[in-house]
Amino acid sequence: MDMEFSPEDLAFQQEVRDFIAENYPAELREKQDEGEEMSKEDFLVWHKILHKKGWIAPAWPVEYGGTGWTPTQRFIWSEETARADCIRLMPFGLAMVGPVIYTFGTPEQKAHFLPRILSGEDWWCQGYSEPGSGSDLASLRTTAIADGDDYIVNGQKTWTTLAQHADWGFFLVRTDKDAKQQEGISFLLIDMKSPGITVRPIITLGGEHEVNEVWLEDVRVPQSQRVYDENKGWTCAKFLLAHERTGIAGVAASKRGIEKVKAIARTEVDGDKPLLANAFFKRKVAELEVDLAALEFTELRSLAGANAGRGPGPESSLLKIKGSEIQQRLTELSLEAVGHYGAPYFRGFGEGDNEHPIGPDYAHRAAPTYFNMRKTTIYGGSNEIQRNIIAKMVLGL
């Protein structure tokens, strides 16, 4: 057993660091540091730089545009991008529908969609959840009825993340009403500009427009945009759930988060000392670091398993549960750190006035982020559902 990176890994790490230092856009960095809202274009600049370099899809097989990195190199990559606070890449194309298409898609689907995912030309959204089908996804009711070479799709999806930017969506729809729940579902790729699609914003607790309702009314979808067999969509969905597990724990991002909390707590004063010198606060930061170390080494063990060719198992639910809890505690600690300045709501500040500022910049998003991050234990299979999975699949109960 050893936990050292090999000399090749260390050289790779240096290469990655140099690349980021030389290529990460300064304007984007500035916007991030000032806590500004990211536009669709902002998300795409870094995507396009990585695409040009050939590093956009480390997890993909080389034949479809992957980098051919080892799992350790991929781990280094995600560590380094988080350490440098690079903007996150949207997962819907790269981590979700892309792998479904290269695994189950037709040659035509692969040829058409994969290059466009890699280049960032198409922005994807995920149309699974419905008002009546959240945790119990297999009960979904959106229907697709065959009509010649097409399907006619009707129904409502909800919580669709960033659908307002999306060119395409991947949807789970019911193609057989009589089959057992999981067996009557198909996986469709739908052009979001199709007639009959309406996207309506849902505003979340921090005031952000991040999720949407998507209404589908007699939307005509060519059957050639179905991935895999009719009524086999659940297989794609399950594959997708199990597929992209690296990064689910968010270890690298949380490490960066802890550094940010520490920076705030070094600036904030408590009596005649920095807040970080307050024994109670310091203990909470330390506990978070310890828990993060436990998560990191649990993830590394599962990564070592992947290196040895074992696929990720249901124990990845552990990574999701602990990772999301840590992300939430981080936001809780930031909010605690900023004290009174957690209360002002930055979206209502109006005209700027540098002589009479409203608290430090780092405080402005503390509360909205804390509110917003409650989502992490709800989405992607709620933590209750993840615990059910561990109970059943790992403990055999």
Partner: protein, 379 residues
């Protein structure tokens, strides 16, 4: 021992609950908190003039209902149930409390104005460097003839955009964080040199940064003794802290009830999600937190009259417990709702936001545990 409320207290609660039931439904609240001014002034006027509610803790000779801290707690709990933004806390509990304590001509002049609904008084005590330490002040009031000149910056002053007056803590002597040299002033909000930046808060209130740029104030603005104001300030902030615990109880009760109701309607896997035992136990835990918040509020309120150390220990115990409880109940209400819990559309998220701000108002869990330990476990 008797924990029953008097008939008058029951009457206050019922009257107020009925009034808020009619005027303060969630949609109406959202409409006025999102309006330019962020409030509906008619509600404050009605509270004063139709219900006499702003006189709840004041003696009858001022035109009040003759109550005290228990009556304040009743009003605050009812406001909590509707996530009310009415400035009862700073105006009636805090400024009213200070005026009651100092008495005399200042009380005779201002208390009737509060009761009539004419005065709204914001409490400008927090400063950027001060956290929850009431003596950590850089704002100064320098003696100038018979009056003072006020300079400094006060943070996140709730209700200041609506205020007619400000209750300000400032240093008339001593160094930052000294117990001596702290004074309390009640001043008009429109004096020359007061610069305000108003903004909404995450919990639906309005607040301001207040900058005093050499503001000339008269000598009779001083409440209590010059330089000896800290004990009075600590007392009124303790009264305010249990009042906030009472508000929290109302907020938490609604979070719990809303969750119970939702889980019985929401079906997944063919059954109401309330059937899942893990959610049942969680809702039981929430219930227990609500009950304990209520108990601690009553305990803290009843002990406000005790000598300062006992009072502070009791108030800190109450606030520490309620802060944890509000955190637990708020987070679990959202979690148990699933996605719908994190939208602006449902009331539940707005209760959660208020519960979150209450956690640290007048001191976080850590702050109050620390104060408790220093008083009770000092050897």
């Amino acid at each position: 021992m008797d924990f029953t409320y008097t008939e008058t207290q029951d009457m206050i609660r019922d009257t107020l609950a009925r009034f808020l039931g009619d005027t303060y439904d969630f949609e109406t609240r959202q409409k006025f908190i999102n309006s330019d001014s962020g409030r509906d002034p008619a509600i404050w006027t009605a509270l004063a003039q139709e219900l006499g509610m702003l006189g709840a803790p004041f003696a009858e000779e001022y035109g009040g209902l003759g109550g005290g801290a228990l009556e304040n707690a009743i009003v605050m709990e009812e406001l909590g149930k509707v996530i009310g933004i009415e400035p009862y806390l700073p105006t009636v509990v805090i400024a009213g409390g200070a005026l009651k304590a100092v008495g005399g001509a200042q009380a005779d002049a201002m208390i009737p104005e509060i009761i009539a609904g004419n005065a709204i008084i914001a409490f400008a005590y927090a400063e950027p460097q001060g956290r929850y330490d009431l003596a950590n002040l850089r704002t100064t009031a320098r003696k100038d003839g018979s009056g003072y000149v006020l300079s400094g910056h006060k943070s996140v002053v709730y209700a200041a955009p609506w205020a007619t007056h400000l209750l300000v803590t400032a240093r008339t002597g001593g160094n930052a964080r000294d117990r001596d040299g702290v004074s309390l002033f009640l001043i008009d909000v429109n004096l020359t040199g007061i610069v305000r930046r108003d903004y909404p808060t995450v919990d639906g209130n309005r607040a301001s940064e207040i900058y005093f740029e050499n503001v000339a104030i008269s000598g009779d603005a001083l409440l209590g003794g010059e330089g000896t104001g800290l004990p009075l300030i600590e007392q009124i902030v303790d009264e305010a802290t249990v009042a906030v615990c009472a508000e929290a109880t109302g907020v938490m009760q609604k979070l719990h009830e809303g969750t119970l109701e939702y889980t019985q309607q929401r079906k997944q896997f063919g059954v109401p999600i309330a059937k899942f035992q893990v959610l049942q136990h969680r809702m039981v835990d929430m219930f227990m937190e609500v009950e304990q918040a209520r108990s601690m509020t009553i305990m803290g309120t009843l002990k406000l009259e005790l000598p300062a150390n006992e009072r502070m220990a009791a108030v800190s115990a109450a606030k520490a417990k309620v802060a944890r409880g509000a955190n637990f109940v708020g987070q679990n209400a959202i979690q148990t709702h699933g996605g719908i819990g994190i939208t602006q559309e449902l009331a539940i998220g707005h209760y959660f936001k208020r519960a979150t701000m209450i956690e640290s108002q007048f001191g976080s869990h850590d702050y109050h545990m620390d104060r408790y330990e220093r008083i009770v476990l000092a050897d």
